[in-house]
């Protein structure tokens, strides 16, 4: 929907005539096979490419984050297993000590009985 202001813009921004002799000057340059006066800037990266690059960067970031999370989780599990192993070793040690004490006590009773 075009309002009054947009209408004014259309009227105010109408085309202006090219300077006198413009076409002659262009034809002169074409005839002389002149180079462009201004270097053409490198081609703009198209929208599709921008999106593709953004998607690749996003995937790389997601992969990196996923990998970091996975490694952290593995380290946490390994630490847990290590702690469980240490607890198990302590329990086993204590049990073995208890068994050893009981054996020594039983040995001492036997010696007294024999005497």
């Amino acid at each position: 929907m075009s309002d009054e202001f947009e209408q004014e813009l259309k009227e105010g921004l109408g085309r202006v005539p090219a300077p006198e002799g413009f076409a002659d000057r262009v034809m002169g340059r074409v005839a002389r096979n002149e180079r462009l006066r201004f270097r053409v800037m490198p081609q703009r990266v198209s929208y599709a490419w921008q999106m593709a690059i953004a998607a690749m960067v996003l995937l790389a970031v997601l992969f990196g984050v996923g990998e970091t999370v996975h490694r952290r989780e593995e380290r946490r599990r390994a630490e847990l297993v290590q702690r469980q192993f240490e607890v198990a070793m302590r329990v086993t040690g204590r049990t073995l000590n208890g068994v050893g004490e009981r054996i020594s006590r039983a040995g001492m009773k036997d010696e007294r009985g024999e005497q």
């Binding site: 947009e6 813009l9 006066r37």
Partner: protein, 174 residues
């Protein structure tokens, strides 16, 4: 297309006003606009073999005129608003057949357009000078349609805001 010199001259004469006007509205300087417009036609002459029809030529000219003007601004790091005063004076001498008031109001509109950021300006120029649709502008500027629509909206908001103060000032001066 493989036109001879006469036919190519016909193309230049047919489209020179459009290409020059796009460059002028983007750059705000007649000398720079003519240089850029000439370059666009020299480039057209080299690229004609790849262009298939009149419509293709028109599309190509609009796109290359907009891009080369942007390149010029980027290369020279020009801010057209700084040149607006000088440009106004030159421009008034070249516009014929319009009343002083129409020229003055039109010139102020052009100054306001020149003060817009480059991205908004190119969308506004193609929309209101060339009367192109947002879809056509998007294809020409190689931008998503949503970006073009947003640039047009933001440009219009800025222009309305500027017009409010500038046109009040103009009425006071008259």
């Amino acid at each position: 297309m493989r036109p001879n010199d006469g036919e190519f001259r016909g193309l230049v004469e047919q489209h020179q006003s459009m290409v020059f006007s796009i460059a002028l509205r983007m750059l705000g300087d007649r000398g720079a606009a003519e240089e850029v417009a000439q370059d666009v036609f020299v480039e057209l002459h080299r690229s004609l073999g790849r262009l298939e029809s009149e419509e293709h030529v028109l599309f190509w000219l609009r796109r290359v005129a907009a891009h080369r003007s942007t390149d010029y601004l980027r290369r020279r790091n020009l801010r057209p608003e700084f040149m607006a005063e000088e440009w106004t004076e030159q421009h008034c001498r070249h516009v014929d057949g319009r009343s002083f008031d129409a020229i003055a109001v039109g010139t102020r509109l052009e100054e306001m357009v020149l003060s817009l950021p480059q991205g908004l300006r190119s969308a506004i120029v193609l929309r209101y000078q060339e009367e192109m649709t947002p879809d056509e502008i998007a294809k020409t500027l190689e931008q998503p349609v949503a970006t073009v629509k947003s640039n047009l909206q933001r440009g219009l908001v800025l222009l309305r805001r500027k017009a409010g103060s500038v046109l009040k000032e103009f009425t006071r001066e008259r």
